[in-house]
Symmetry: C2
């Protein structure tokens, strides 16, 4: 556990987020209106999201967007987060690689999700919104938004994916402690929920369905907006505080990463860490490798189709140009609930399509093996989601050992696993299995969607 | 949630612990050998504890004891911890008081317990010990020692109080993830455990019994030492890093506390925060008030007897001069499992006897009400133990409002409650009650012990 920690002062909390789209030579295709089939304009998004978030969503020109001072003020509760050199893990792997991790688990809710929750809740409050809705998978996002909503005096309803609602009661209690209402999804409270419950009585829920329910409630409730925790461009934008801090910290460490790794669900923590480093490739001809670590049970970037698809199961959202497993895809009940999402989002998918980032898919058992090694060397029990990044990092570190070359790897510890101990319990009891999606499944759920060229 | 945070750099991690006994005009009475009834010498403790810890236990002359460099190195994983001005809580209470808290919840195991776990595991390793045992109540101490033991390559067996073992399965899983063996106490693995199971088949365990079991295992196992997480002088010593850092941070804030508050179980976090500030009273004629916040169900400092008593239920340990409810006292099953201990330890008890510190006892429901307010204002969900400190702080802040005077209050947030969400669930479901010990109960369990004058 001997660690080198690189700490910034509060003055180093970024003053602007980084909007990678401005620096992309090939921009993502536009989102498409689900009814008119025209490219989405900001005004089309205003009924659903705050105006500020809608404008950020479609901003393709400003590389840096100022962080409002009240948001920066709240970031100070836990930011800047530490960058740590994982020397004990390096020794355990007997690798010449240098492994660094950005520790986003130190936030009061235990994950990076607060970075965007605070920003979005702030914009809603500024615009006079009184009620907000959202979905949550494992509960990390729901917990973060509950805390942010309470701070700004907003009422919040969270649709929590049924399997997580049952597997992760502690996360539900956390949201309630912050004062939010939590509903198991699918629920009877929405048309989308009622339909899928009726069609599939044993359906254990998905992020896609929970999004449909939250969107439907927002659209049918006065003065209510919907807030999303991943996938969209403005969420990725808010998360770039992670990478912007890490950039300075790697400088303190006197190294630049050769490889940047993060787990991948809808892209929020991956984008947050990766984009500021990707800028070095896009602008300065650097050659950093980026690896999105997906679960083998939900491998949209590695095995999905590059198509126009809905962001939600019921088809309420705009059509997003992205790698997808199809919006009707139902992922297996892995414990990394935050990674159970069918699509890769527009920016990451375009980058992937253009060969600017890589992706790997990792079986569940390998992630828990990696997590246990990390806990026993570095002392922090990681979230099942983050454990995908650790597993991918270990693969890279072992490759470096085989090749006998030093390699600098940076990964994002997006959250701690203290509220996921049931999953560890099951792992130690040999009660967990690997789930691998078949090609047939993917072909079935992606059939009939519009391909992107 | 607007907060002012006072951060130190790693260079500010203390280089020595503070031993308050050296500065006490009236020293604590000596511990007594349970067989010879002579005052304990360090050699008497060597079979049980590491030599270093034994020597520290009886050191009454050195005010500062150097922190070994490998221990300081591990402290760097999460120390120095932040000091925070809780302005949102102040506003919610509409109080002229300034409220500060030391945030010990940021450690990787979520509490202050690592401060001593690392030190004690280090000393054991240095002295060639291979196996260690301990007890744990809520599991905070057990989790911390599990992490430290794994780091130093020691095998660890943890006796976990039965009610916590059942109420807090996540903490048990955390210890197992770090590689420790966890046994529900009372167990059949020891004479002490077998006896109490036989006499009281429905006994839900206590820290006193778990200590007996751990001590018995250590004494009957080759090359095995026992490690304690609270009560004893050397544990309090290690915890003073909390107060030593807080002293510097209050200086940064430009204020000195009028009142210092911490929850009280066996004294580890109370001593850790309070002693460095108490030094100002003992040496410089300052007039800081100290408040130990106990549960109403286990009120040794407020309602116990000042007696010689065993540290454990079976009577294996030396007799300790302390306020006690009697070593056969069985506390109610409150959720603040870390506070379910019958005695106050020698130093704190002497200070209390001499009027140098105060104590209050607080009913369970008041602590959860305080915890919820704190979570919704400051954004951090506190451990049930720490919530006693928050409740006592709120009492002081409201008193300040009534008196219309500014008062500076500093409390210790000894741990977060993310692994205690079951307790919050029960609180919100109106499923928790207050437990108040009767005078008859106390008279019965303290009868026959030797009074101290």
């Amino acid at each position: 556990m001997q660690t080198k920690k690189f700490l910034l002062s509060e003055q180093d909390i970024p003053r602007a987020w980084y909007n990678v789209v401005a620096d992309m030579a090939v921009k993502p295709h536009p989102m498409i209106h689900p009814v008119t089939h025209e490219p989405i304009k900001a005004e089309d998004l205003y009924p659903l999201f705050s105006k500020a978030a809608s404008d950020q969503e479609l901003n393709t020109t400003d590389a840096f967007i100022e962080i409002p001072e009240p948001v920066r003020e709240l970031y100070r509760i836990w930011r800047p987060t530490p960058l740590v050199r994982a020397e004990a893990l390096e020794r355990a792997l007997d690798t010449p690689a240098h492994i660094y991790f950005k520790n986003e688990s130190v936030s009061p809710v235990g994950s990076h999700k607060l970075n965007s929750a605070i920003a979005q809740a702030y914009y809603c409050k500024q615009e006079g919104v009184t009620n907000i809705t959202t979905e949550t998978g494992a509960g990390q996002w729901g917990a973060a938004l509950s805390m942010a909503a309470k701070h700004f005096g907003l009422e919040l309803a969270v649709y929590m994916v049924k399997v997580s609602y049952e597997q992760k009661p502690y996360r539900r209690s956390i949201m309630q402690t912050y004062g939010a209402e939590v509903i198991s999804s699918p629920s009877m409270s929405t048309k989308a929920g009622r339909k899928i419950i009726t069609d599939h009585p044993n359906y254990s829920g998905s992020l896609g369905t929970a999004i449909s329910e939250a969107v439907e409630l927002a659209m049918s409730t006065p003065n209510c907006k919907y807030v999303l925790g991943s996938v969209l461009n403005h969420v990725a934008l808010h998360q770039t505080v992670i990478g912007l801090e890490a950039e300075k910290q790697m400088e303190m460490a006197g190294e630049m990463p050769d490889v940047v790794v993060a787990c991948f669900g809808g892209g929020s923590n991956f984008s947050g860490l990766a984009f500021p480093f990707l800028r070095h490739n896009l602008k300065n001809g650097a050659n950093i490798q980026f690896i999105a670590a997906e679960p083998a049970s939900c491998p949209k970037l590695t095995r999905g189709e590059f198509q126009y698809d809905f962001g939600d199961e019921a088809g309420y959202t705009p059509l997003i140009p992205m790698y997808t497993l199809g919006h009707k895809f139902t992922p297996a009940n892995i414990h990394a609930g935050g990674l159970r999402y069918h699509g890769g989002g527009a920016i990451v998918s375009q980058l992937r399509h253009d060969g600017l980032i890589d992706a790997v898919d990792i079986p569940q058992l390998e992630t828990f093996e990696a997590a246990t090694l990390f806990a026993r060397t570095e002392g922090i029990i990681p979230a099942p989601e983050s454990s995908h990044a650790i597993a991918a990092t270990i693969r890279e570190a072992l490759k470096a050992r085989e090749e006998g070359r030093k390699k600098v790897i940076l990964f994002n510890l997006s959250g701690h696993g203290l509220i996921d101990m049931t999953a560890y319990d099951r792992y130690f009891s040999n009660d967990l299995t690997n789930y691998r999606v078949t090609d047939e499944d993917i072909a079935r759920t992606t059939a009939g969607l519009e391909q992107i060229l």
